[in-house]
């Protein structure tokens, strides 16, 4: 009499299928993970040592981005405001608010406020704010609607392919110089024509050389 009952046929085929599926599935998961917003740390509001609310400052007070991020249009880094900058206003307003205690502390002790970094490109990537801002890329394009964020979160995936998409075809992302910091601007009239015109005005050549970002 034989070793394997009729059930074995199904069993053996099923188990083979499972093994194959499992292997592929594992690979797929790893591959897919880095394409999820979670994998890229998007949509994850970060709580900061000071409960700073962009909504309030941007919308209610209508403070321009560059008031605090002062070097965005001049330097490689947009610049995190110094304690001094906060106190420019908060020496007068809310100068007793317990929420601002850490700020005052930092000012008087001379110890910086340890903000938590939200947007991070790898160390071997040389991103420069100045060139992007001066060539018509708006803050909102990469950082999203900070005017709607209680706590700042990463919006764009910040992957190389994401950078490349824009570097290969910058036109649709361009905006006039005066609209760089606007959160709400949308191209009026014929967007295509506008972006063509801006491409010319800014004299833009999307560069995809490795050394454009890696040095």
């Amino acid at each position: 009499m034989s070793l394997f009952g009729p059930g074995w046929n199904v069993l053996s085929r099923a188990s083979l299928a499972v093994v194959a599926a499992g292997g592929l599935g594992a690979l797929g998961t790893v591959w897919g993970y880095w394409r999820t917003p979670y994998g890229m740390r998007q949509g994850d509001p970060i709580s900061q040592p000071v409960m700073f609310d962009h909504r309030h400052h941007v919308v209610d007070d209508a403070i321009d981005c560059r008031y605090c991020h002062a070097t965005a249009d001049r330097g490689a880094s947009a610049g995190i405001p110094s304690t001094e900058t906060c106190l420019n206003c908060h020496a007068q307003v809310w100068n007793k608010s317990p929420k601002l205690e850490p700020v005052r502390q930092s000012y008087f002790t001379g110890r910086p406020i340890p903000w938590v970094r939200v947007h991070k490109v790898p160390d071997f990537v040389y991103f420069n704010h100045a060139i992007h801002v001066n060539k018509g890329i708006g803050c909102v394009t990469c950082h999203g609607r900070v005017d709607r964020m209680a706590a700042i979160e990463q919006v764009a995936p910040l992957t190389m392919s994401w950078c490349l998409d824009c570097h290969r075809n910058p036109a649709p992302h361009l905006r006039p110089p005066e609209q760089i910091t606007s959160m709400t601007w949308v191209p009026g009239g014929d967007p295509a024509a506008l972006s063509r015109e801006l491409m010319k005005r800014y004299d833009i050549h999307g560069r995809t050389n490795c050394s454009t970002c890696h040095r």
Binding site: Y33, G39, R41, I46, T71, D73, R74, G75, A76, S77, G79, I80, P81, S82, T83, E84, T85, S106, Y107, G110, R111, P112, I113, P114, W115, V116, R117, V118, K120, P122, D123, F124, Y126, N128, A130, I131, N134, K135, D203, R207, N209, C210, S211, T212, H214, R215
Partner: protein
């Protein structure tokens, strides 16, 4: 608050709060324990340095703790108060100076976030002209050396700075009683007017104190020679731009501190073929950088140079027959050549030659009417700070006589560098208060009862004078990283003015010497890095022939027997750079040896004694002997041994300790440079040198090409087969549409082989040091190397050196073999190396015919001290283990220039690579080949242009210009 004036940004007239308040704070702050800062206000440039260092640490920590799916979020530490100048990560430049053995070289330092990260020459400065040497550049590594001396201690006990000042004040008060009878100073040579002023005032307070200046590589015999010839000590400054024919008697004037950078520039400018080309004769014992460039090189032992000088002098009729010698064929030819160019010729004499030879040279130059033309005589710029060869002996005598109770030593490491036999160490230990100011713990600090850590020049206020007397104010780029003080403060402390601080003293002195608006003037001086019109005025002095004759006749005749010659080392000078890993790993420009010195001998001598390369030999002189490995050096004089100073350190840090052999143990006080009666016996054992260059012969391949003027006229067409397009299956990419097509040209005629480019590149591109063992394994990391080839007979070879970095082939063999596209071409023709994509198959290196690619075989930066992290150039990725790297044409500078320009909506300006910027000889030209007017495209069109390994059809973007020699037909 206002800050240091940025180089190239002339300060506006006064009006704002004076510059100084903040800097006073800075000074004061530096005084606190460990240069710690009490309040944010003082954190002008310094705090940034400390910050970014904090950030670095934070980052590495973050990387270390890689948990879960995500690394922990980094922290950002913004300023509490915004620094007035510069943007975060933006480089700013400051002019300052660095004095090596007395003479200052004007420098421009690049600082990022308050960290000095790059040293460059100051184009406005007479002794730099924009070029910079290996020592000035490598000094930056010393600044960040974690092994630097720290704090102050007396007999082992630590002292706070203020206590120290009080103690010294008390000490000096005690000495003031008897006018300083028991007080002695042993100072380093320094032309600083501030130090001179302090010395003057000290002399006033302590009339009986003895001031001695000493250096192991002093040029005292030059002044003595001048004294013979002119009756007083004078400095002689050469003007090579005016000299058509140059005779260098054991003078290696193209390398080292002092005037070498200017001389190299002036010399190189006259090396292009044609009527204006100069001719160089060199008579010397060992092959030197200068000798390698000679059109005619006469090989002779050091003691025979005098004889040759007398021959030439005789042939020139510069001195009467009794002082001269019957000229040989060579001397006659040289003399005739010099004679033909009266007033446009030059006879130079090296510091190692006896005074009488210097005197002879003065006589010859006078006879040739060169004085005032190609030679400029000035009062000694060092003034009374001229080193005295007898200093140590006298000091020793005094100590023995017990007449020294307090000895202040600012001279570099006298215990180590003292002549053999003179046991200064033991004597120093006998001095009650031996106060030693030093950058590092060393042989001397072991014996001194007081050890004071010295601030690095880049950390401290001061001033200095160039070889021609021009004054540069030395300003700090960063507060002292270690608790330390300066020579100024130390001397001032003896005047009871220690608290004032070097900065106040400097201001006080220069206020007294400046016009009305001192603040603005000072700001301008600091901005330009030069006090205009402060050069020493030229003097004219008649030669006292009879004195010269007498001296010349007194010269000992060259006798038989082996001779030893000592020389400052090309890498560690007299040993003060022995702790500098960059310089230790820098191949000697002549021998290409790294991490070592050797007893160089000629092939003939080696044959006679049956010695092999690397064999250990016992060098013995009466009463002294030393074991050293032999290096057989083509072009070395026969029957002579050359040993360089500064190695074989017994104390100090991990870098220099126990590397090489200590030549000072053989060096006699009365014969500091040459000595007869050397006996040389083979000893047991073989020494393995670490020599990165594989072979010194070109194997008959067209690699580094040279022609004589004559040959060039006839055979220039021979180059046609070494340039131009070649048939290829691939259709060439058209770069002409691009805004830029980057290219480089290296002029072998100009290159003096001084290695400045190598250090510049190392500093700019974060090139790691790998250590002796790894160099032996063939893993040296320099992106640009200087190949040195010998041609002709090994006894008297012609020498040619060829700087070689990645040549950025348009048809790059490295690129198509990379499996992951980690090295590809940019639209502007750069051969890009993408570290973060590289998986390290090393295929590119195998397929690179120039072998200019470097691989991170191990984690070269395994454990770096926090301070060393501050040295990193933030614009260049620090490469990981297992990654290939190579010259990028300084792409970070290109992109920086592009972004800065385009962000302003401007066209992109010219870009300089680090090697080009450093090169004192202007041998390296870089730029845009699409611009027909750029210097580089002119060079590419030059008839002397050829492509290295052209037959491979790689179409390199770096072109070479053949070297032209200008031999004298009469000697041909």
């Amino acid at each position: 608050m206002k800050t240091l004036p940025i180089y190239g940004q002339p300060p506006r007239a006064a009006g704002e709060r004076p510059l100084w308040t903040s800097l006073d704070d800075l000074e004061a702050a530096a005084r606190g324990p460990g240069g710690e800062f009490r309040h944010g206000a003082a954190e002008a440039p310094v705090a940034l340095g400390r910050r970014s260092f904090m950030k670095l640490v934070g980052a590495s920590a973050a990387l270390a703790g890689l948990q879960a799916c995500h690394p922990p979020r980094e922290k950002i530490h913004p300023y509490v108060k915004h620094p007035p100048e510069g943007l975060p990560g933006q480089a700013s430049h400051y002019a300052t100076a660095l004095s090596i053995d007395g003479y200052a070289t004007g420098l421009v330092l690049t600082a990022v976030d308050g960290r000095p990260v790059k040293v460059e020459g100051n184009p406005a400065h007479p002794s730099s002209l924009g070029g910079v040497g290996v020592f000035e550049q490598a000094a930056l590594l010393d600044l960040y050396d974690p092994g630097r001396a720290e704090g102050f201690r007396r007999r082992g006990g630590g002292l706070a700075f203020r206590t120290l000042l009080q103690e010294i004040a008390a000490l000096s008060a005690a000495h003031a009683q008897d006018g300083g009878a028991a007080l002695a100073f042993l100072l380093a040579p320094d032309a600083s007017p501030l130090l001179a002023d302090l010395r003057r005032r000290l002399q006033g307070r302590f009339p009986r104190a003895r001031f001695r200046v000493w250096s192991p590589i002093a040029e005292d015999q030059a002044w003595e020679g001048a004294r013979i010839a002119f009756g007083r000590a004078l400095d002689a400054t050469a003007r090579l731009d005016r000299a058509d024919v140059i005779l260098a008697l054991d003078a290696d004037f193209l390398y080292g501190a002092g005037d070498a950078l200017r001389l190299a520039r002036e010399f190189a400018r006259r090396r292009e073929p044609g009527e204006a080309m100069n001719r160089l004769y060199v008579a010397e014992p060992a092959l030197t950088v200068t000798g390698a460039l000679a059109d005619h090189r006469f090989r002779m032992r050091g003691s025979e140079v005098a004889g040759f000088a007398r021959q030439v002098a005789g042939a020139l009729g510069a001195v009467p027959a009794e002082a001269a010698m019957p000229p040989g064929r060579e001397a006659r030819a040289v003399a005739a050549d010099l004679q033909r160019r009266r007033g446009r010729s030059l006879v130079l004499c090296g510091p190692r030659q006896p005074a009488a030879v210097h005197a002879l040279c003065h006589a010859m130059n006078a006879a040739l009417g060169n004085a005032g033309e190609t030679l400029r005589y000035t009062a000694p710029v060092l003034g009374d700070a001229r080193p005295d060869p007898r200093a140590l002996a006298d000091l020793a005598r005094e100590i023995d006589a017990g007449s020294v109770r307090t000895l202040v030593v600012t001279a570099w490491n006298p215990v180590h560098a003292a002549p053999a036999g003179l046991d200064l160490g033991a004597r120093l230990a006998k001095v009650e208060n031996a106060i030693y100011l030093t950058l590092r713990e060393d042989e001397t600090s072991r014996r001194a009862s007081w050890v004071l850590a010295a601030s690095h020049p880049f950390e401290s206020w001061g001033d200095g004078r160039a070889r021609d007397g021009s004054v540069t104010l030395q300003q700090p780029l960063i507060a002292p990283l270690k608790e330390s003080t300066t020579a100024v403060d130390l001397l001032a402390a003896f005047l009871g003015e220690g608290e004032k601080g070097a900065h106040e003293h400097l201001r006080a002195l220069w206020k007294s010497r400046s016009g009305p608006d001192f603040e603005l003037a000072l700001a301008r001086w600091l901005e330009q890095g030069l006090v205009p019109g402060s050069a020493e005025p030229a003097v004219s002095a008649p030669v006292k022939t009879e004195a010269v004759v007498a001296a010349a006749r007194a010269l000992p005749a060259a006798g038989p027997g082996m001779e030893i010659a000592f020389a400052p080392d090309y890498s560690v000078l007299d040993g003060r750079f022995a702790e500098n890993a960059w310089l230790q790993e820098l191949p000697d420009p002549v021998t290409k040896i790294t991490w070592d010195n050797a007893a160089s001998i000629s092939p003939a001598t080696a044959r006679r004694l049956g010695l092999r390369n690397g064999q250990r030999v016992a060098l013995s002189l009466p009463g002294r002997s030393l074991e050293a490995p032999v290096w057989i050096q083509p072009g070395h004089a026969d029957e002579a041994v050359t040993l360089t100073l500064g190695y074989g350190r017994t104390a100090g840090g991990p870098v220099g300790k126990g590397v090489g052999v200590d030549a000072y143990r053989l060096r006699a006080a009365d014969a500091p440079w040459f000595e007869r009666g050397l006996s040389l016996a083979a000893a047991k054992g073989e020494h393995r040198f670490a020599v990165p260059q594989g072979s010194f012969s070109m194997e008959g391949r067209p690699i580094a090409l040279d022609f004589t003027q004559e040959a060039w006229k006839r055979e220039s067409h021979e180059l046609d087969e070494l340039r131009g397009a070649q048939p290829s299956l691939l259709q060439a990419v058209d770069y002409s549409k691009q805004e830029n097509a980057w290219g480089m040209a290296i002029d072998l005629s100009k290159c003096v082989g001084c290695n400045a480019c190598m250090v510049a590149c190392q500093e700019e591109n974060n090139v790691p040091v790998v250590g002796k063992v790894q160099v032996q394994k063939g893993r040296i990391m320099h992106w640009i190397r200087v190949d040195r080839y010998f041609q002709g007979p090994p006894e008297d070879p012609t020498v040619i050196s060829q700087p070689l970095a990645c040549v950025h082939c348009e048809v790059a063999p490295c690129e198509y073999v990379c499996p992951v596209n980690a090295t590809v071409h940019s639209d502007e023709g750069l051969n890009e190396m993408v570290y973060n994509r590289c998986v390290g198959t090393r295929y590119c290196s195998n397929n690179c015919p120039y072998k200019v690619r470097r691989f991170n075989f191990l984690a070269w930066r395994g454990e770096v001290a926090p301070t060393e992290k501050m040295l990193v150039n933030p614009d260049v990725t620090v490469r990981a283990r297992g990654v290939m790297e190579k010259c990028t044409y300084c792409v970070q500078r290109i992109e920086r220039a592009r972004i800065d320009a385009r962000a302003r909506g401007a066209k992109m300006g010219p870009v300089q690579t680090a090697c080009q910027q450093a090169c004192p000889a202007e041998a390296i030209v870089f730029g845009n080949l699409n611009d027909p007017r750029s210097r580089v495209s002119q060079a590419h069109r030059d008839p002397r242009r050829y492509d290295l390994l052209h037959t491979l059809g790689t179409r390199p973007r770096t072109a070479y210009l053949v070297r032209i020699r200008n031999p004298n037909p009469e000697l041909g």
